[in-house]
């Protein structure tokens, strides 16, 4: 359906221009963090290893967290064609759920929130469980909460036309933001929550925690990536891809459209919840001001569209490229751009993201990394095995 215009050319093989484009993009991509760092050199005197390292670790952690959220969106939109314009809601729910579970009791007059079970969750006081068990529980709860919210949104809207869900997700994002801001007693309102404990934080020196942070986020990204790959490159994922191609034909092939769409929406939302959870650990402070439509919904759409809808590697690549370019533009003050541009840089970034989405839709709907040709990993393996044996090739 959607990719109708483009797929044949791709399917017939790569053109030389594709290779050139890929090479250029690859070079730029790999260079991103270095460019960004070069620009910010002024901030770190030469030889300041600690400064350099905090720059790279912060960059990687952010990319990791955003990659999780983009992968969640990829299940929903990339694979199934279900629109979610309210990533913010699931992201925020995941982050706040994590914070109120892992934090201790509220301290001081200006802090009120529910939960604060962190100290009680050390259920088995052995093997330093206080360093990891509460965090595992909190992340699982974040995924669960986001999944349940998705179920709640899906029920009235998913059997209607696709755009109703899109509208409903905008609504749930608005409600989530409002509840967080208005209900002071719940999660401390617009003051936000600070001091979210960090997993395994007691095991290393605080100044070295940034390395551990990268490792933890990296491991979660890897686990989620492989779990999702396994799920989507299976008959389950095949039905989802069928849905994004043609819903009626999928129904005529005996698949329960509503059930599969709901599953996809809920799984995607749960991944977003995990992403939110990781965000809470990585940045240790939450404020409703940080969860804007631009920064908590829209940027993930840009990442997914640019990276390649329907490809988890594309989702990660998109998060990397977009965040890399974002970081570069944040460091622009090293150049003489003039006040006119500089004072408007945040808004220009927003503009470019919007242009990127529309541009990708118009020019290269497949994104950087298109979907795999074969959905099922088993079929892939089988066909490869056949190719390697001297049997006559099946390809025309």
């Amino acid at each position: 359906m959607i990719l109708a215009g483009k797929r044949p050319a791709w399917a017939r093989g790569l053109k030389p221009s594709d290779f050139i484009a890929t090479a250029v993009l690859l070079t730029i991509t790999l260079a991103i963090p270095f460019i960004a760092y070069e620009q910010s050199r002024g901030a770190f005197p030469d030889g300041n290893i600690a400064g350099t390292m905090s720059f790279y670790t912060a960059f990687l952690v952010t990319v990791g967290v955003f990659a999780l959220l983009t992968m969640g969106l990829n299940i929903q939109w990339g694979y199934t064609g279900v629109i979610n314009f309210g990533v913010l809601a699931f992201f925020m729910l995941g982050a706040y759920t994590t914070a109120i579970i892992t934090k201790g009791d509220p301290q001081g007059d200006f802090t009120t929130y529910i939960g604060g079970w962190g100290n009680d969750l050390n259920l088995i006081p052995a093997l330093a469980t206080d360093q990891w068990l509460p965090f595992v529980i909190a992340t699982a709860a974040a995924a669960l909460a986001a999944g349940l919210l998705a179920l709640l949104v899906a029920f009235p809207t998913l059997h209607l036309r696709e755009d109703y869900l899109a509208i409903a997700t905008i609504g749930i994002a608005e409600v989530m933001r409002r509840v967080v801001i208005e209900e002071r007693w719940m999660v401390n309102g617009s003051r936000g929550l600070t001091g979210v404990p960090q997993p395994l934080g007691g095991l290393v020196d605080q100044s070295d925690y940034k390395y551990l942070n990268v490792v933890i986020v990296g491991i979660v990204v890897i686990i989620v990536f492989f779990a999702l790959e396994r799920a989507v490159r299976s008959p389950w994922g095949r039905v989802l891809r069928g849905l994004s191609d043609d819903e009626e034909a999928t129904a005529a092939s005996g698949k329960n459209v509503f059930a599969f769409k709901t599953q996809s929406f809920v799984v995607g939302a749960a991944i977003m919840g995990i992403g939110g959870s990781m965000y809470a650990y990585a940045f240790s402070a939450l404020s409703p001001d940080a969860f804007t439509h631009l920064f908590a919904t829209f940027i993930f759409w840009a990442m997914l569209m640019v990276g390649g809808s329907g490809n988890n590697k594309g989702a990660i690549a998109g998060a990397y490229v977009i965040w890399g370019l974002w970081t570069i533009s944040l460091q622009m003050q090293g150049y003489e751009l003039g006040d006119v541009i500089e004072s408007r840089m945040p808004f220009i970034r927003g503009l470019l993201l919007g242009v990127a989405i529309v541009g990708v839709l118009l020019i290269r709907p497949l994104g950087l990394l298109p979907q795999e040709r074969r959905v099922s990993a088993w079929v892939e393996r089988r066909v490869k095995k056949e190719r390697s044996t001297p049997a006559p090739p099946a390809e025309t």
Partner: protein, 365 residues
């Protein structure tokens, strides 16, 4: 022949069956009774909120009619509607006084050499209003410009997607992308600080039955009334309008009967653009000019269109008032803080989707 036997429904069917019967009860007048009852109650208990609700409802109705027209003819949900309203409100601001943000954030500079306020007496207040005839001129000019802008966007983006036979979801995403482009354009030129068209005092007018409104709000109601009248005549009395409605009802039939779909689409954008501009300026007059407002506005707009049944212009008109009034009156309740205004619109939307997805005026599904 074999006697057909009943099949025991599974849980999903049962739930959906329940949903349908609930919808039918609602169709039997439950929803209407609730709406009318609520309004009458508000007329006694919360008169001020009701007045504001009606004013806001008129604005929402204008926006929702445009939204529903686009949905009817082009079959996709236009997620840039709220942001285009705000952008056109800012265009009107630019035409009025030519001001944009200067080199540094916070400073100001003039962009246009000649502005509407340079006309003699354009900014001296008429009657009890807070503005002069300049605003009306600006509104009309903006309507033309916005119509042009929407047609232009259709040419550059949506038409190319149509040619490629893209699915409705692609259109939705493209319009979301454009929404953020528009919002960023507002921020680049006018910054994040909310603005007002005129700094003057807003005069209150006392009406019978202990009702008091701002003079500007009377203007909003009058303007909305006039524009609605024009759109009504256009839709129901002209050939073009009939063709639009025919295309909304049955695109295939419309194609067969020789309607030039490209022309109809262009005109739909033009009409929707005018509605967007008027609704945007009126909203900015009622509230203020604010880049943040555009996206949040999508909820009441879609709620209004869905309450009336997507694609049904008369329905959207009623829906606008239903949503506007409910939203304003509901936040006077003690348990709802005013911050939940748009959440109320969302609640209405979900309620309608649950009991009557085709809206108040839709057929039974």
């Amino acid at each position: 022949m074999a006697t057909p036997q009943t099949i025991s429904p599974n849980l999903g069917d049962r739930l959906r069956g329940f949903q349908r019967s609930a919808g039918n009860i609602a169709a039997g007048g439950g929803l209407w009774a609730a709406i009318i009852g609520f309004t009458v109650w508000a007329a006694f208990a919360e008169r001020d909120a009701l007045t504001v609700g009606i004013v806001l409802g008129a604005i929402l109705a204008l926006g929702a009619v445009g939204l529903t027209l686009i949905f009817g003819v082009l079959k996709f949900a236009h997620f840039a509607h709220g942001d285009s309203m705000m952008l056109s409100a800012f265009i009107a601001w630019l035409l009025l006084n030519g001001i944009i943000v200067g080199e540094r954030a916070g400073s100001e500079t003039t962009l246009l050499p000649v502005t509407i306020n340079d006309l003699p007496g354009a900014d001296s207040a008429i009657w009890e209003f807070s503005f002069g005839y300049g605003l009306i001129v600006a509104m009309l000019l903006t309507a033309v410009l916005t119509a042009g802008m929407m047609v232009g966007i259709d040419r550059v983006v949506y038409r190319r997607l149509r040619r490629r036979k893209s699915g409705i979801v692609i259109f939705a995403i493209a319009s979301l992308g454009l929404a953020f482009v528009m919002r960023s354009v507002i921020l680049i030129f006018w910054g994040p600080t909310p603005r007002l068209y005129t700094p003057g005092i807003r005069n209150r007018i006392d009406l019978p039955f202990d009702v008091s409104v701002l003079a500007d709000q009377l203007f909003i109601l009058a303007a909305a009334f006039v524009v609605t009248g024009i759109v009504y005549v256009m839709l129901f009395r002209t050939k073009l309008g009939k063709a639009m409605r025919a295309m909304a009802d049955n695109p295939d039939l419309a194609l067969i009967s020789g309607i030039d779909t490209d022309r109809i689409i262009t005109w739909t954008w033009a009409v929707a653009g005018c509605l967007i501009a008027v609704a945007g300026v009126l909203l900015a007059l009622q509230a203020h000019l604010d880049s943040e407002l555009g996206f949040a506005l999508l909820l009441p707009l879609f709620a209004a269109a869905i309450v009336g049944g997507l694609g049904n212009p008369q329905g959207a008109l009623v829906g606008g008032f239903v949503v506007g009034i409910t939203q304003e009156v509901a936040v006077t309740f003690d348990f709802l803080s005013p911050g939940y205004k748009f959440s109320v619109a969302f609640a209405i939307l979900i309620l309608i989707l649950l009991v009557r997805p085709r809206g108040l005026f839709g057929e039974r599904s």
